[in-house]
Amino acid sequence: MSFLYENLLALTWQQVTMWVIGGILIYLAIAKEMEPSLLLPIGFGAILVNMPFSGAVNQFINGILQEGPLTSLYEAGIANELFPLLLFIGIGAMCDFGPLLSNPVLMIFGAAAQFGIFFTFCIGSMFFPVNDAASIATIGAADGPTAIVVAQVLKSNYLGPIMVAAYSYMALVPIIQPPVIRLLTTRRERMIRMDYEPKEVSKLTRILFPIIITVIAGLISPAAVSLVGFLMFGNLLKECGVLKGLSDTAQDALANIITLILGITIASQMQAESFLRLDTLMILGLGLFAFIFDTAGGVLFAKFLNLFLKKKVNPMIGAAGISAFPMSGRIIHKMGLEEDNQNFLLMHSMGVNVSGQIASVIAGGLIMSFFM
């Protein structure tokens, strides 16, 4: 009869704590609808892998390796960066670069809003080895797949906490960004109106844009070419106009299948012994720091530009340069309307937001080329 209770006796308080963390993630996904497609599988997976002798992950039992399906999925799709890259095809197919193409100058805000990544790296390097500090800083890219690829390529020891932090903070963008923006801007600045003069973007431009970006990013940062390339391949499927079936599949079925597998596979890295450490708290703190400084970098850069511009820009749009697309763009638009109900910033903030998507991927590539 001992088999009935010996597993129960093997249960540790750390594993129970992981169940609670899993439960919180599931609660946030369902009750608060925070990134449910990722937080729910991650939360459930956290419970699954933290059973005593869980068969979901590899276990040595009596010296014999028993392979678990989640470890196999991890080896097959995350250890070689395949799943995040495939997800990028779907994201690329979902992205509409129209607002950015009609006003390409918005691109520079994407660059400014990656400040937090590099600044957090400097802070993190005081506590962690450079490969881990660089991987942790990439949480600030607000871009889950990029964070996974960078952490994997740089062989970080903290893949689990980094992935959880990256996806959780993406969901917290509506809570994190507004107070930072309000702190750095006056009401008068937040009320600045920006005219929107829509320009027709030709089909040729829409088709050549993803190809040109891939070539430029590949030449400047070869390490990022797969990240940028898969993103732009997805966009090219959408914009070419002759592959509607593939584009729809990438946006819908492919993205959903990969997201489903990715979430629960990430949880294989959330075993109590590797997750419940002081380091994890530090990583969560540094990730938040990176998000805040990315937002601040974008806003302060816009304010700096306003010193020279005759036609001022609303500094809030700089904050949309983080990658969390389209959430960040929408938040800026909403904040503009809260200050002045006739201030429509949506097209500008969305343009900056998609530039942030591109910039975060290039930033990830630069980080990889620095430390590989």
Binding site: M107, S125, F127, L204, I220
Partner: protein
């Protein structure tokens, strides 16, 4: 985990390199897009 404050200063170069690299890459992409828009406008 060791606390090594000197690493902050030593790694500031990456902040500069990273931001310069980003502005350079996105600047070229923006310029290419402007040129592309002009070319396709004429057509």
């Amino acid at each position: 985990m060791n606390f090594t404050p000197a690493n902050f200063v030593a790694n500031l170069q990456y902040l500069l390199k990273g931001e310069l690299g980003l502005f350079f890459a996105l600047g070229i992409i923006a310029l290419s897009t402007i040129v592309l828009n002009k070319i396709s406008e004429k057509k």
